[in-house]
């Protein structure tokens, strides 16, 4: 179950990114001409220093939007409401189209209101459907997302048939058109982001509580529904003001991906929230700057790709939860286990044949399922570290190696004994080959086991050496 959850967390950002990449690539051909035509340092410099008014508006707007989305997205992500954000953003389309039909012209303020209204309706529909028996959350989200979006597309085609020629303007809400952002839009984003940030700081404690343990929160008398509503309200606000810049298909990425990336770097909620805000802001800034330099690049898609790069880097490089760190840890562990196997095998042989016995390497090799390369690696390491004396055919333990090997053997036997005596309550996550028993079990228990080990004469032989006939 945990694994599935984990997969979903990783997969979803991946899917969003994929869509983002597709949209960006579609325009790459055009963009290349742009690069060749104008180029270059001057342009980059102008984008970085925000000299152009248009660029300045877009860059500041998307940066602030990214920060707000990252912060509020952290809570949505932890509340496992990430996909709900997707349903929400798609459900805004009919609202936008309806506002246009009713007003007969493109008025941004009212269209934003329309977007918010149907967006909220979509969220409520998901929450309502989820209560129906036999409709699971993912199905509820899928139904609402596609039906609302479909309704929006139908309305759009009606508008097209009306022939006012404004339908193209509405399309910018679907794919996003940051370049069309006006000073007023940037202000709207700024004010909304301010509201979002202030609310998240003030309600930090309440949000943390319902994200972690909803039923405890309500047993303590907190109005979980109201807090939830406030949180979803902030998500709606961020989504709606972000529609024009990033587009409704991709805006959810700004909510989820920075939060998912931030989770790799810290185990504290406060830091995670800040990190997600920074990642979001960084993506917004980087994405809009890049698309200012490369003309005809869709800003929203580039921003989303930037979040994706940050996410990938976090996933690979994070020192604790990262893929790379995990690989290194696993490699080290495998090495330690192999070392311990070798030492234990030698200790067991010495136990039956006396200290300082020379052992044929071929005999040792057969005691374990080592590959040729694996065996020579572990042998080489043992010799380099001064545990083993060997000439390539025969080998024996050195004094240092012997001390170490005896400790490994005792530890191993204590574990076996523990598992025999306490198997029914043995914690499942014990890695008995790699862990020193003293690090896992209480001192009293280890003492008890040691005593038992001293008394016991018939330690069951390890299954690995059973066939060797010591």
């Amino acid at each position: 179950m945990l694994r599935i959850l984990h997969m979903r967390r990783v997969l979803f950002p991946a899917v969003v990114l994929f869509i983002g990449a597709g949209e960006a690539l579609g325009d790459v051909g055009g963009a290349m001409d742009g690069i060749l035509e104008i180029t270059t340092w001057g342009k980059i410099w102008r984008a970085l220093t925000l000299v152009d008014h248009t660029t300045r508006v877009v860059v500041i707007g998307t940066t602030v939007l990214g920060a707000a989305a990252g912060v509020v997205g952290t809570f949505a992500y932890l509340r496992k409401r990430a996909m709900l954000g997707d349903a929400l953003s798609h459900a805004t389309l009919p609202g936008i189209a309806l506002a246009f039909v009713i007003l007969g012209e493109k008025r941004l303020g009212w269209m934003t209101v329309g977007a918010a209204v149907t967006g909220v309706l979509g969220v409520l529909a998901v929450l309502g459907l989820r209560r129906v028996p036999r409709v699971k959350e993912d199905a509820a989200i899928g139904i609402v997302l596609s039906v609302f979006f479909g309704a929006g597309l139908v309305l759009m085609s009606l508008i097209q048939q009306m022939g006012s020629g404004e339908e193209a303007g509405l399309r910018s809400f679907i794919y996003g058109k940051a370049a069309a952002m006006l000073t007023n839009d940037a202000w709207l984003i700024g004010v909304s982001a301010g509201v979002v940030l202030v609310c998240c700081v003030l309600l930090f404690k309440e949000f943390r509580l319902i994200c972690f343990d909803q039923s405890y929160a309500s047993s303590q008398g907190w109005p979980v529904g109201l807090i939830d509503l406030l949180m979803m309200g902030l998500v709606v606000l961020t989504t709606v003001v972000g529609l024009q810049a990033v587009g409704m298909i991709l805006v959810v990425a700004l909510l989820i991906v920075p939060a998912a990336a931030a989770r790799f770097w810290t185990d504290r909620l406060g830091r995670m929230t800040v990190a997600a805000g920074v990642f979001g802001a960084l993506s917004g800034w980087l994405g809009s700057t890049i698309s200012a330099v490369l003309p005809r690049m869709p800003t929203g898609a580039v921003i989303v790709l930037c979040t994706g790069v940050l996410f990938l880097m976090s996933m690979i490089l994070s020192p604790h939860r990262g893929v790379l760190a995990g690989l290194i840890r696993r490699m080290r562990l495998a090495r330690r286990v192999a070392d311990q196997h070798l030492l234990r095998a030698l200790a067991e042989i010495e136990e039956s044949r006396g200290e300082g016995t020379r052992v044929e390497e071929s005999e040792l090799w057969k005691m374990r399922s080592w590959s040729a390369a694996g065996f020579s690696r572990v042998m080489g390491r043992g010799q380099r570290r001064g545990w083993i004396d060997g000439d390539g055919r025969q080998c024996r333990l050195t004094a240092t190696g012997r001390t170490l090997a005896k400790r490994v053997l005792t530890n191993h036997r204590l574990w076996e004994l523990y598992l025999i005596r306490y198997a029914d309550i043995a914690p499942s996550h014990v890695d008995r080959d790699a862990d020193e028993i003293e690090h896992i079990l209480s001192e009293g228990l280890v003492q008890e086991l040691r005593q038992a080990l001293a008394e016991e004469t018939t330690i069951p032989p390890s299954p690995h050496v059973a066939g060797v006939g010591i």
């Binding site: 945990l2 959850l5 932890l78 028996p133 003030l202 309600l203 930090f204 404690k205 309440e206 943390r208 509580l209 994200c211 972690f212 343990d213 039923s215 405890y216 309500s218 047993s219 303590q220 008398g221 907190w222 989770r263 810290t266 185990d267 504290r268 909620l269 995670m272 306490y422 309550i425 914690p427 996550h429 209480s442 228990l445």
Partner: protein
Amino acid sequence: MILNERRDVTAVADDHNASSPLSIHDMTVAYHRRPVLWDIDYAAPEGSLIGIVGPNGAGKSTMIKACLDLVPRASGSVRFHGGTYRAQRRSVGYVPQRESVDWDFPASALDVVAMGCYGRIPWCWPVRRKDREAAREALDRVGMVDYADRQISKLSGGQQQRVFLARALVQDARTYLMDEPFAGVDAATEAAIVTLLRTLRDGGKTVLVVHHDLQTVPEYFDHVVLLNMRIVAAGATAEVFTPENLQKTYGGRLTLLDKAAHVMASGGRR
């Protein structure tokens, strides 16, 4: 309809035992119209350690949740120390099942325990220093103070359970309701929890514990509630925890019955 309700209210006033820390009257709970608890009547004796025992699906957790207003009651009423749960919330501590939350959440053990103080902190105020100190103290009481800053997913199952206990302790309640605190914990934690529960009881608190291990019931609990959709028997363990009552509670499902009988035969001491 209105008349009915009114009669109900007077009945409630009469039938509740005001001195009891937890008094349940005529409580029925249904999920999707299927009743899971029938006509529960129970008054917990003050200052005792009470085990709630019954087969899977008997409604043990539901009984606790319905008392705490987490699950709607189809009928009946509940009083804590003579008042409704809403009124007595501060004096009731709740320990949910450990599996009910995602332990991968970015929080330290101290963060989780401090949540027990949130009820005392006003809206929009951050966690104060004295709250964190109280949380640290509670962690100390469950022997977890060395793990205060550790991320909760890096704790063992038993340690996580102790964190949940500490979160209830920090509230300094008079009555505690615990949902399977012994589920999936190691022997050391089980012993530590039992000691803690006894300390609480000796300090005059009332503790109700949903429990699934019949063998340890006589050893752990003064009182026991045998539950299977209705209350089969409730009272002092020595009197109520008998093979006949267990047979009634578990019906044909009790392969453990022999074991339990054996436990009883070997002297159901506590």
